[in-house]
């Protein structure tokens, strides 16, 4: 099976899952008590007004027609109209998305930079002090609720560093980049970095701990294999033995685990955004739950679900690329 064929198969599976995600969220509407008509009409509106509104919203159609309309709208990237504000849900969610992506990416990158070397060192110095320290760190990291960690970091920074911003987001990464290149003004970047630093650390801690654990145990397993001895025997520098051979083979199975664990990262982003008032879709979701704006809630769920599926397809593609057996067998 070629890489292309593998990806096509995987994408078809992904589309089925996305269809399921969409269907689940469609039926969520019927579980909820909130009535879109009351939400969108003035409280003193007469029954004719309400009836017209229901007609406009398509609520009087049979359910399969409503479902078909819903899917058609989604295919045109229309997530509906916010029940509370009457604005386009797609645009509202899209406006919030970059903040979450920035946060998740920053957390992932910080995690990888810390966790992979830590796991390698820990495995290389097994049963030495640095190994125990790394193991303790990863145990703590996977056991700490990140909203609490965020609060504690805020206190700690306030006491140790002094007043730096511990909430919100002034400029986006995109704006900061524009400032840097068009106006040669690095301040926007500094502002972006200082705001994202604590949330990214908070969100990244669980992931860092998990990745350290996985890297360590994977490296230990891999280091016991004969090819490592054979690779050393041919005189390859130890750095290459460790990183090109052992670490690479360690990461191949870890990648798929991490793909699944991305759910944890997104879930973590929701609560981290809440702690740091980060204007992403996570804190947006919590707001909308409070407002009971079910159109927006559905929209956010779809965006998160679809995003998760797409990321996992990408992860599988990486796995297939790194592991020759998947493609050739």
């Amino acid at each position: 099976m070629g890489l292309g064929k593998f990806l096509i198969k995987r994408t078809i599976q992904g589309v089925i899952v996305i269809w399921g995600v969409v269907t689940i969220t469609f039926f969520l509407r019927f579980l909820t008590p909130g009535d879109p008509v009351s939400a969108l009409t003035p409280p003193d509106a007469g029954p004719e007004v309400r009836e017209r509104m229901a007609e406009n919203l398509g609520l009087n159609d049979p359910i399969h027609i409503q479902y078909a309309d819903y899917i058609t709208d989604l295919l045109m990237l229309d997530l509906g109209t916010s029940m509370r504000t009457g604005r386009s849900a797609s645009i509202m969610i899209l406006a919030r998305l970059p903040a979450t992506l920035e946060l998740a990416l920053a957390a992932t990158i910080i995690s990888m930079i810390i966790a992979i070397p830590l796991g390698v060192i820990s495995a290389r110095r097994r049963h030495q002090k640095s190994d125990y320290a790394a193991t303790m760190f990863s145990l703590l990291g996977i056991s700490t609720p990140n909203f609490w960690l965020g609060i504690m970091l805020i206190i700690l920074v306030a006491v140790v560093v002094g007043p730096i911003p511990t909430g919100g987001r002034d400029v986006s990464f995109w704006e900061a980049t524009v400032m840097l290149f068009l106006e040669a003004n690095p301040r926007g970047f500094g502002n972006w970095a200082i705001h994202i630093f604590l949330p990214a650390i908070t969100l990244g801690t669980y992931f860092t701990a998990l990745l350290t654990r996985l890297t360590r145990s994977g490296m230990l397993e891999e280091l016991g294999k004969t090819y490592v001895e054979a690779t050393r025997a041919k005189g390859l520098p130890e750095t290459l033995v460790l990183y090109k051979h052992v670490l690479r083979n360690t990461l191949i199975p870890i990648i798929t685990v991490l793909g699944l664990q991305l759910g944890t990262l997104i879930g973590g982003a929701v609560i981290t955004e809440e702690v740091f008032s980060w204007p992403g879709i996570g804190s947006f979701l919590i707001q909308q739950i409070a407002y009971r704006d079910w159109v927006l809630i559905q929209g956010i769920l779809i965006v998160i679900g679809v995003g998760f599926v797409v990321i996992n397809i990408i992860v599988d593609a990486m796995y297939a690329k790194l592991n020759p057996k998947v493609v050739t067998e």
């Binding site: 399921g20 969520l28 008590p33 909130g34 703590l140 609490w148 664990q261 919590i286 739950i289 998760f308």
Partner: protein, 355 residues
């Protein structure tokens, strides 16, 4: 189900691993505290002590050993003065008090009850849903497997916290349940007029007569986490159905239900047990996140206390710090227990961990 060899490997793993010992001791400690909270808690967990009278007011007291100096500007003898005051801890409030003057330690002890109940019942419920689902998929394979597991994948597409928030949002407006569970010790103490059967009878009798158990939250955490059990059970069932004894049972005409019950289920329990242990930790974290966000209808939980302490955290750090430590300790000890079981039983298990 638990063979002699298994017991042996559990024991030898426990002997060699310090971490396993620590985990086990901590878990027992937490269970004892949760169970006997009315006896052990020094104060009523929800009794407030707010007053204008500084003698009665017990708000924001620091933990023992954490007394501190502060200066405040206030009216003294008709003019504004900056007064240095020392805030001394009160020895009957070991971990200090919160903004309402409630004893933090007592609240932690009662909070342990909710965490333990939701964690254990949630994990059991998730097992009860996930294991039969996964066994069916894995045992029958092919189309049944495909369609069942594709359904499970759809659940996985939603991060557990996101799904939990959405479900709580749905249930909150329709039928959100909490259940008052009467505390047998307190009831016994209250009916025990002589105070001779229950130790510290008077103290216990003054404690809350029941605790609030968040039924909906427990259902929700089970609903978002059963998929992991389904995945593990499916993997086991797929391996076991290839075994000779399963083929033999089939050849003598045993029904599929019988084979699953008698052969597949018992042989797939080990990894399920390990997963269930780890899931208790994951569910405790999930529950604390929900209570932190205010999506649990109970207020005597660790997550809620953290949320309460957050706004004052810059000055009265302990109010948010203490319940967080309680969560960390509980989750660490369960994870240690899980590591111990996994090392002793050694299956390969995946599972979504924390929040």
């Amino acid at each position: 189900m638990i063979s002699k060899r298994l017991k042996q490997s559990l024991r030898s793993e426990l002997r060699t691993s310090l971490m396993a010992k620590i985990g086990l001791v901590l878990i027992l400690l937490i269970l004892i505290v949760a169970m006997f909270a009315p006896f052990l808690a020094p104060h009523h967990p929800t009794e407030t002590r707010v007053s204008d009278d500084p003698e009665v007011d017990k708000t924001d007291l620091p933990p023992i050993g954490m007394g501190y100096e502060t200066s405040e500007t206030r009216l003294v003898d008709g003019e504004m003065q900056t007064v240095e005051t020392t805030i001394e801890p009160d020895h009957s409030f070991i971990l200090g008090t919160n903004t309402l003057g409630q004893d933090i330690l007592s609240r932690l002890m009662y909070g342990a009850r909710v965490s333990v109940l939701v964690g254990v019942l949630g994990a059991l419920l998730a097992t009860a849903i996930g294991v039969p689902y996964g066994l069916t998929a894995g045992y029958f394979g092919d189309r049944i497997d495909d369609s069942l597991m594709r359904g499970a994948d759809m659940m996985l597409a939603f991060p557990s916290l996101v799904l939990a928030i959405a479900l709580v949002g749905v249930f909150r407006d329709t039928d959100f349940h909490t259940q008052q569970i009467p505390d047998p010790f307190v009831l016994a103490a209250r009916h025990d007029t002589l105070g001779s059967f229950v130790p510290r009878g008077e103290h216990v009798a003054a404690m809350p007569a029941s605790i609030t158990f968040p039924v909906t939250v427990t259902l929700v955490v089970a609903l978002v986490n059963w998929v992991w059990f389904a995945r593990v059970a499916r993997g086991e069932a797929m391996a076991i159905r290839q075994e000779e004894y399963v083929k033999a049972a089939k050849s003598v005409g045993a029904s599929n239900a019988t084979i699953i019950r008698q052969h597949v289920l018992p042989n797939s329990l080990t990894p399920v047990i390990v997963l269930a242990t780890i899931q208790v930790a994951a569910i405790i974290l999930l529950e604390s996140a929900l209570s932190y966000l205010g999506f649990s209808e109970t207020t005597l939980t660790w997550g809620y206390d953290i949320q309460q302490g957050q706004s004052a955290a810059a000055t009265y750090w302990w109010i948010a710090f203490m319940p967080g430590m309680a969560i960390v300790i509980a989750v660490i000890s369960i994870n240690l227990l899980g590591d111990w079981l996994r090392d002793a039983l050694d299956p390969s298990i995946e599972g979504e961990g924390g929040v």
